[in-house]
């Protein structure tokens, strides 16, 4: 029940807090993840999220509370240690960067799991929490704040998010420059090393804040997928960060509700929803799958139409009946459709003898195509060693890609009154 006695029911409040916690921690991950993805450090994010486990366990053993400052510090130290160890190993024989990373983080994660299992009685963690979090139980662990009972995990997440936002705003310029061109940034005197260390520390913070919500492994999804989705949709770094945070928050809410509905793990569902979001972006983005296939189709259509027009024009020039480019099924189908469309749009007309004729408009367009063709033949003949009969095929292809400005430049080189290498006149530009 959502509403009971005129107020939101207690159950609804619990759900709201859980969703709010997920939203807040995933927002932090989305923000940090943007920089990780852009700097090709996604696998480092993977490594850190696994490797902080022993640091967390040790900190909790030392009396820290999950989400408290001791644990945050412990995780950050472990993260930096992980990176240092990876870098040291990466130079050795047979150990490339990714192998070194894999060795270090699996080992540290294993250490963490062993510690958690062995010290289960003394440590307030368990293995399944480590792997996929306990978002559903988060609302029940509260701390009093200004008279209200706030879930501790939410509070930690909010504080970490604020810290991450502050770090981002303060160091945005440096992060941007370092992400775009690390060497140039270093050469320009920017503190690249500091920026990188800061990014790693931020990753550790975001990981620990998300720990209770989604566990160590699904943090990877929250770090990388929103940012990768944003990368497909927008191109400027700050837009990417905004979209990533938005995607992360929306996916968290939808994922939580879906998990409630299907009675399964919230963390897992959030990851699934993020994956679906990525898929949707890959398909529908301006340069996504659908757009690319559509562009290919449009090009093929334009080429077919222009080839028909050019063939008719050449027929007129030769004074004979036009010979359309030979085509067998299924090309013939496309050509037939193109002819019908050309007639419908007023570029060609049917003549009394059953053949096709160019209209004025069609003739103008056809001349442009033939002009492009012959200009290219003339230009290519001057600049490349090609026998005469080898000039036609490249021109057949290029004629569809030449625009007015480039045609002007080609003409400037070959001369206004020139003819193509076969001796045929180049039609003038139609204004």
């Amino acid at each position: 029940m959502i509403i009971a006695n005129g107020w939101l029911s207690e159950q609804a409040v619990m759900h709201a807090w859980a969703m709010a916690t997920a939203a807040v921690v995933s927002a932090g991950c989305g923000l940090v993840g943007t920089l990780l993805v852009v700097r090709r450090m996604s696998l480092l994010g993977d490594a850190i999220s696994h490797a902080v486990l022993p640091g967390i366990v040790v900190a909790v053993l030392a009396g820290g509370r999950l989400g408290g400052p001791i644990v945050l510090a412990g995780a950050t130290v472990t993260a930096l240690f992980t990176v240092w160890l990876t870098r040291s190993l990466a130079g050795r024989r047979g150990v490339a960067e990714d192998a070194a990373s894999g060795i270090v983080f699996t080992t540290l994660f294993a250490v963490g799991v062993v510690l958690v299992s062995a010290l289960a009685s003394r440590v307030d963690l368990d293995a399944s929490c480590v792997l996929h979090g306990i978002l559903e139980l988060v609302p029940f662990d509260t701390v009093p704040l200004a008279g209200f009972e706030i879930p501790r995990a939410f509070l930690t997440g909010a504080i970490v998010l604020a810290a991450l936002l502050a770090m981002a705003v303060l160091t945005w310029k440096e992060q941007l420059f370092a992400a775009f061109d690390t060497d140039a940034a270093r050469a320009a005197g920017m503190p690249v090393g500091l920026a990188t260390t800061g990014l790693l520390a931020a990753t550790a913070l975001a990981t620990v804040a998300s720990f209770e919500a989604v566990g160590a492994i699904l943090v990877v999804a929250m770090l990388v997928v929103p940012a990768a989705t944003a990368e497909l949709l927008v191109h400027r770094l700050h837009s990417m960060a905004l979209v990533a945070v938005l995607v992360a928050v929306v996916a968290s809410c939808i994922g939580y509700l879906a998990a409630w509905h299907f009675n399964t793990s919230a963390a897992g569902m959030i990851a699934v929803v993020l994956g679906l979001g990525y898929l949707a972006a890959a398909l529908s983005a301006p340069d996504g799958v659908v757009a690319r296939l559509a562009a290919r189709g449009r090009l093929a259509w334009r080429v077919t139409c222009e080839d028909c027009l050019a063939a008719l024009w050449r027929g007129e020039e030769a004074g004979a009946a036009a010979a359309l480019p030979p085509a067998v099924f299924p090309r013939a189908l496309g050509q037939h459709a193109a002819l019908l469309w050309l007639r419908a749009s007023g570029r060609i007309t049917t003549a009394s003898d059953g053949g096709w004729r160019l209209s004025t408009r069609g003739r103008a367009e056809a001349e442009t195509v033939v002009r492009s063709h012959r200009l290219w033949e003339a230009w290519l003949g001057r600049h490349a060693e090609l026998p005469l009969d080898h000039l036609h095929p490249p021109a057949e292809w290029i004629e569809h890609h030449l625009g007015a400005a480039v045609r002007e430049r080609l003409e400037a080189e070959v001369g206004v009154a020139a003819s193509d290498p076969h001796g045929r006149t180049i039609p003038p530009e139609r204004k």
């Binding site: 024989r93 047979g94 562009a295 290919r296 449009r298 090009l299 230009w379 290519l380 600049h383 490349a384 060693e385 090609l386 026998p387 080898h390 095929p393 490249p394 292809w397 290029i398 569809h400 890609h401 030449l402 625009g403 007015a404 400005a405 480039v406 430049r409 080609l410 080189e413």
Partner: protein, 256 residues
């Protein structure tokens, strides 16, 4: 009927990501000889080699070796790639690498035997590396590494060799050794096609050259081709038109 050309490029076009990098190359090369492919950086010289070897897909045109498509004559074609393509940390010895040249003749699943080792040893002697046969390849100098690649290609016992910048970053002594081997190959009636970066040495080493800058500028005997006019057209050519056109083709649209 005249003997087929050793190498024949016909209207060859290669595109990366939809963008043409080689435009309509038409070129024939005959054996025997040492043939150079010269041009500025990024002109597509390596790409031309890779197209001949079937390592990149063709966007148009064709390649014939000895009058036949590549797959029919692979046994007769040797390849020396650029040094950067390989991880020199790989735990194999010089002999192991040279033996790889004998693999095509061995076929699937058979191990190299005494005959293959003898061939490999002979090739190592030819390039002057017989004494380091057991060394791991990471422990060689740049010139030695290049000679290992050459020995591997020699072990293929081919009639036609393609070499991609074999003299880049190589010490003078190794350069001489390599060139001596190439000259011997020419004496044996074979054809060696070399992508080369250095104009000054081109004149003394190559019988004939092709000047490439995304398209074929000129080809023929070295002295006739390396004229100031041709060099100007190659090294300061009209690339911006091709660049813009390449972009338009990749996007499927028109230029401005």
């Amino acid at each position: 009927m005249a003997a087929p050309h050793a190498v024949e490029f016909h209207d060859l076009t290669v595109a990366y990501g939809g963008r043409p990098v080689l435009w309509n190359i038409d070129l024939v090369i005959d054996a025997p000889g040492i043939f150079g492919i010269i041009g500025p950086n990024g002109a597509g010289k390596s790409t031309l080699l890779k197209a001949a070897l079937g390592l990149v897909p063709l966007a148009g045109g064709s390649v014939k070796l000895f009058g036949k498509p590549l797959d029919a004559v692979r046994r007769r074609v040797g390849y020396v790639p650029q040094r950067e393509t390989v991880d020199w940390d790989f735990p194999v010895s010089v002999m192991d690498v040279v033996l790889m040249g004998t693999y095509p003749r061995l076929g699937w699943f058979r191990r190299p035997g005494p005959r293959e080792r003898a061939v490999a040893t002979a090739c190592l002697e030819r390039v002057g590396l017989a004494d380091v046969a057991g060394r791991q390849i990471g422990r060689l100098s740049g010139g030695q590494q290049q000679r290992v690649f050459l020995a591997r290609a020699l072990a293929q016992e081919a009639d036609l060799y393609f070499l991609d910048e074999p003299l880049a970053g190589v010490d003078a002594r190794s350069q001489e050794t390599i060139f001596r081997v190439l000259a011997d190959l020419r004496l044996e009636g074979r054809l060696v096609v070399v992508v080369h970066h250095d104009l000054r040495t081109a004149a003394e080493w190559f019988d004939a050259v092709a000047l490439i800058d995304m398209r074929l500028v000129a080809a023929g005997p070295t002295a006739a081709v390396l004229t100031p006019d041709n060099l100007r057209r190659t090294y300061a050519g009209p690339l911006d038109v091709l660049d813009e056109l390449g972009r338009a083709v990749a996007q499927g649209s028109r230029t401005r």
